[in-house]
Symmetry: C2
Subunit: 342 residues, 2 copies
């Protein structure tokens, strides 16, 4: 739990809007604001025309429009890059603090891209747009950020085990339905994702660069690591794979430093890092699992060891699991908002 | 299909014994021998006392004993390391060619450890024991072996996505039952594996070395790569993870060479390699998937690209899927037998 970043009780309350309120991340945004006691004066839930009129608890969903941000102090966007490109500048021009969960502005040099525990100093003092990173980036950096205390990070190699939630609520439903059909011996035609998902896994479905062979998800993750760490030349490679897990991303990371590093020192640093829970019990064979990370604010970090393929001892191997909808999206956005609204 | 290694029709037929015939690999051994037209004169199915008397097709399973190998020309062992340690030397002393799928003899310097396409030259001329590698090793080396044509391999980093079958038929049943219970909202207590398996993944359950933090599966895989490649000092690191997939292992590999290498040259080499099928369609986003590899003799190889974290261009990134029960066990064993029996 991130007690230290919780807002003060006496704080002024904000008029909040959530764009994409009916999506998997939108629902978690509402939950995070409530659970963390964010001072909300009013909450406006916005979505596409199609979802307008739908009730979510005590709220009625409204269609997003250029007039929807009047009087809004804080706007969360989680409805895809094109909605963000259209409406986030409108909200910001109306004086709102905007936290955008889409990829629309992440690589814009004028827009801060922030994991609060890692580069909170990049947050602006006044209104404007702040970008929330890709879910893999946000989970990975919860470990990599604090490990910079060991030395400069010179190379990162990652292989991911990504949950269905990264492709939205419909993909989570498709995984469940496809698996039920498989167990019943019935045919199932995937509609949300391009490949069979029951008891299967596949390379992330983002478009693949015909020249480099990296897909769009991997390109995002690599570019965002460089931007948030402030290392434009960081040597980094990711392989992004979707696995039949519902809502937490896992990843195997190989992290090289500019000097020899010890796994014991890494473990101590991670144990003290906010937003991280070390799960690294060699005797009991207990390490991070996505089922245990699901619904947790903390990123689970384990398998912390010296990489035996580096005889110089400059490389660590790690395994992480973090809730894709929380740390990977809604929680990170709310943590940004807590700092902006202070 | 590996047409070139099929035995000739005019070949002498062998008296064959399979120890562990009722296990997941044992069943596949029987299937592989039939499907590949191995010249079998007689087939003796052996297992523990508990399975004796059980019928498998036209055969009645017998209990393994020191007398069970009389007249046997070729014995496959797949009943765990302790059964192999007890009975494989008995079979070999009786003059049988022994192919052992357990870990009992793999690292014995006197016993060849063989993937036929990679180090077939290590096979002995006469009777004795030959060890079949760990399933991850066998799948990985189907790609790494031929890629040595590009240059010497200097470093390998692997992250695996391992199927339930690696822990036997009972683990496959547990994955199915746990998933059905999860979908029905019913509780399920795992008995075969130590962690919940439905929509979850976890670090391989082999015991973890308290000093290095590597588990027994990873240690096997690393040591076997070194032995089969004949590179006792190969720099190698694996992270072995079990995923909720039934019977094919996948893995993300980072492979460094002693010189710059091109992904195009790698693709050409792999396209010509026996036992490999290149699945690497960037435009259609079609890459290796375990569901497609299941029941296939070939290992699927794709995501072949130059690793962007190596500015010197000496490193390739790959993603593989291979049937754990076939290439990872039964098929590799039968391919060894085909060469031994020629």
């Amino acid at each position: 739990m991130l007690q230290s970043t919780r807002p003060q009780a006496a704080q002024k309350a904000a008029n909040v809007a959530i764009v994409g309120a009916t999506g998997a991340v939108g629902v978690e945004l509402v939950g995070c604001l409530e659970r963390r006691g964010f001072p909300v004066a009013s909450l406006r839930l916005l979505a596409s025309e199609r979802s307008a009129g739908r009730r979510l608890g005590e709220h009625v969903v409204e269609a997003v429009s250029i007039d929807a941000f009047d009087g809004v102090d804080l706007a969360f966007f989680s409805a895809g890059a094109s909605v963000s490109r259209t409406y986030a500048p409108v909200a910001a021009a109306n004086g709102a603090l905007v936290v955008d969960n889409s990829s629309a502005f992440r690589m814009d040099p004028a827009i801060p891209l922030v994991v609060p525990e890692v580069n909170g100093e990049a947050l602006p003092a006044g209104p404007g747009i702040v970008a929330n990173p890709n879910c893999v980036t946000a989970v990975s950096l919860m470990a990599l950020g604090p490990l910079r205390a060991l030395g400069a990070i010179t190379r990162v190699i990652g292989a991911t085990y990504q949950a269905a939630s990264g492709a939205g609520a419909a993909a989570m439903e498709e995984l469940t339905a496809a698996t039920a059909a498989h167990l019943a011996g019935e045919p199932f035609t995937p509609k949300v994702l391009p490949h069979p998902y029951a008891f299967n896994l596949f390379s992330h479905n983002a478009a693949v660069d015909p020249d480099t062979g990296y897909n769009g998800e991997e390109e995002k993750v690599m570019a965002e690591h460089r931007k948030i760490l402030g290392q434009p030349d960081l040597r980094i490679s990711f392989t992004c794979i979707r696995v039949p897990v519902l809502r937490a991303h896992s990843m195997a990371l190989t992290v090289e430093f500019d000097r020899p590093v010890s796994p014991e020192a890494a473990r101590e640093i991670l144990q003290a890092a906010p937003g991280v829970r070390v799960v690294d019990d060699r005797a009991e064979n207990r390490f991070p699992m996505p089922l245990e990370a699901s619904g947790e604010e903390d990123v689970l970090v384990g398998r912390i060891r010296s990489d035996l393929s580096d005889p110089e001892g400059r490389t660590l191997a790690l395994f992480l699991s973090g809730d894709q909808l929380l740390r990977g999206a809604a929680l990170n956005a709310v943590l940004i908002a807590e700092r902006l609204w202070r």
